[in-house]
């Protein structure tokens, strides 16, 4: 009888490497995460630090040259009325867009997580992702046409004899305007449209992790549907809602194209950054503006954590 060896011989480099990784698991881990760590740590966080540093410099008002000395002067400029208006407008718009996205996304995400099976699940993913595959600019310009005074929305409303509804909406002070495409309402609609998928997907993922038996347990113990929603579904889905809101909130805060194309042409933070570092050549102020969304997001996350949004993680 030929003896079958209990230990097989190494056949080459792959065997030797596998052996090495088995003896020293950390080697494989280090090899796998070193490139992304370098990317994240140096390229990403590094440039962010450079940005932060820049915001503590100031610009010489006569020569227009950046003075590389530590000062809080640039930050103080943010509180000038014309700059503070930009921050306040952006913050309000981001909050409203996030809220509206959450309200619209929830039923869609809930349906996809609970009821959609097989083919319908594919239809859901396709439906949510498809708009993301086409150019963002094309979509925004399309919306400009849709919402324009001669656009399809006004046309349909007039044909249905509901033109007065649009007129009434446009007559609302502050958010109204000449037409939907030149009002804050138009900007808001386009923002919600463009960022909605970023709310739906994390929401759906978190709802999918809530087992049906948990909803049944709630009903079994005497809870009405709305009690189950408030005390079980919402707390368990909250990490997903927060994740989605981080996307919609920060994407709205940073966007500088939509308000330029659809809306009143009032400035938002993104546009302010764009203009300060470009036309105005005031890099420190642009950096200070760019720090605002970061600070707001950090405050938002801290509040969410304190409210227990991540307890279910």
């Amino acid at each position: 009888m030929t003896a079958i060896p209990a230990v097989l011989p190494e056949r080459g480099l792959a065997d030797r490497l596998t052996g090495l990784f088995w003896r020293r698991p950390n080697v494989l881990l280090a090899l796998a995460i070193a490139p992304p760590l370098i990317w994240l740590g140096v390229v990403y966080v590094g440039s962010l630090a450079a940005l932060l540093l820049q915001s503590f410099y100031s610009i010489d008002e006569f020569s227009g040259v950046v003075v590389p000395e530590f000062t809080l002067k640039t930050y103080a400029e943010l509180f000038r009325p014309q700059n503070f208006d930009i921050i306040w407008r952006t913050l309000l718009m981001s909050a409203l867009v996030t809220l509206a996205s959450a309200i619209i996304a929830f039923p869609i995400a809930y349906f996809a997580a609970r009821y959609a099976k097989g083919r319908w699940k594919a239809v859901f993913y396709l439906g949510v992702m498809l708009p993301l595959w086409s150019s963002y600019l094309v979509k925004v310009y399309a919306w400009k046409l849709i919402l324009a005074k001669e656009g399809i929305v006004t046309w349909v409303a007039e044909k249905l004899g509901a033109g007065f509804v649009i007129d009434a909406i446009l007559a609302i002070p502050a958010i109204g305007g000449n037409s939907l495409s030149t009002s804050y309402i138009g900007t808001f609609i386009v923002f919600v449209y463009v960022w909605l998928p970023f709310m739906i997907l994390p929401m759906q993922a978190s709802l999918e992790r809530v087992p049906t038996s948990m909803l049944e347990a709630s009903a079994d113990l005497g809870a009405t549907r709305s009690q189950t929603f408030r005390t079980v579904i919402l707390p368990l889905a909250l990490p997903g809602v927060i994740a989605g809101s981080i996307f919609t909130f920060s994407l709205t805060m940073g966007d500088y194209i939509i308000p330029q194309i659809v809306g009143t042409s009032a400035r938002f933070i993104g546009l302010a950054v764009y203009q300060q570092q470009g036309t105005a050549g005031n890099l420190p102020l642009a950096a200070a503006f760019a720090v605002v969304p970061i600070v707001i997001m950090l405050v938002y996350l801290a509040l969410a954590k304190r409210a227990g949004a991540f307890d279910a993680l």
Binding site: S213, M214, E216, Q227, T231, P235, L236
Partner: protein, 331 residues
Amino acid sequence: MTPAVTFQHVSRHFGSVRAVDGVDLTIAEGSFFAMLGPSGSGKTTCLRLISGFEKPTGGTIHIFGDDVSNTPPHLRNVNTVFQDYALFPHMNVRDNVAYGLMVKGVGRAARYGKADEMLALVKLDTYGDRKPSQLSGGQRQRVALARALVNEPRVLLLDEPLGALDLKLREAMQDELKTLQQRLGITFVFVTHDQGEALSMADNLAVFNEGKIAQIGTPEEVYAKPRTRFVADFVGSSNVLPPDITRSLGGPTAWSSLRPESLHLTAPGGALLSGPVTSLRYLGAGNRITIAAPGGAEIAAVIPAGQPVPETGQTIGLTFVPAALHVRGSA
């Protein structure tokens, strides 16, 4: 006395699948009722019909005399211990147990008082502040039990509650559940695929097969007098004997069954059953042997520990007292 639960020709079909098919059932108040069957036999669907998570496609269900056809789960005074426990991960143990009172609008002090009482009942009084994720499987099971009992349900439904526990813990919980049920006097309806569990705990049990009840009765009746071949095989894996062998053993020409533990070793000559040993399995408390009897039947017998064990291939004889042979009307 009004029965706790009655099924009148209840069916639940999912498309062409007849999960529950024309079930008639009466569960007496204060009893420990087990629904036993293999997976897919319809026992869990029956439980969900009582709790209201499934609606019957035919027939009517009464709970304490009330027709519950139009009653949603949250208005049924029936509570469930779920198979996966379904504890709320974002609440601590006390809030989990108090949940049923919270949704009914009971004040904080009162519901926490009651919740702590329930936790004491399941011997977890010091665990109120922990999260479910910090508990062991057995402890979670007790929390689920306390949570289901806090509403003082008329019927407690248990869906394979011990399935995820290891053997030792399972046996301890079986005793505890039985004691608890006797102490509280609540009707327990217990779903299990473990025949030992059903036999040892239930006052009455229903054996399910393919959406129908194969047999219903006390554990003794079902075990000793299985009415169908399926029940004989599923409950305690009986020897099922075809009519010709029944007759050769002194019975009528009919299907019959013989429990392995009612057979005793004897010399092959003149024994009722004899043949070579085909398999031998050590059980700890004894040995299970199988012999190939004449006529092609495989007969299993359990030999208690301490008795001499035959070898595989050795021809042996088996005997039994005539009363052990249970003759059925049909197969």
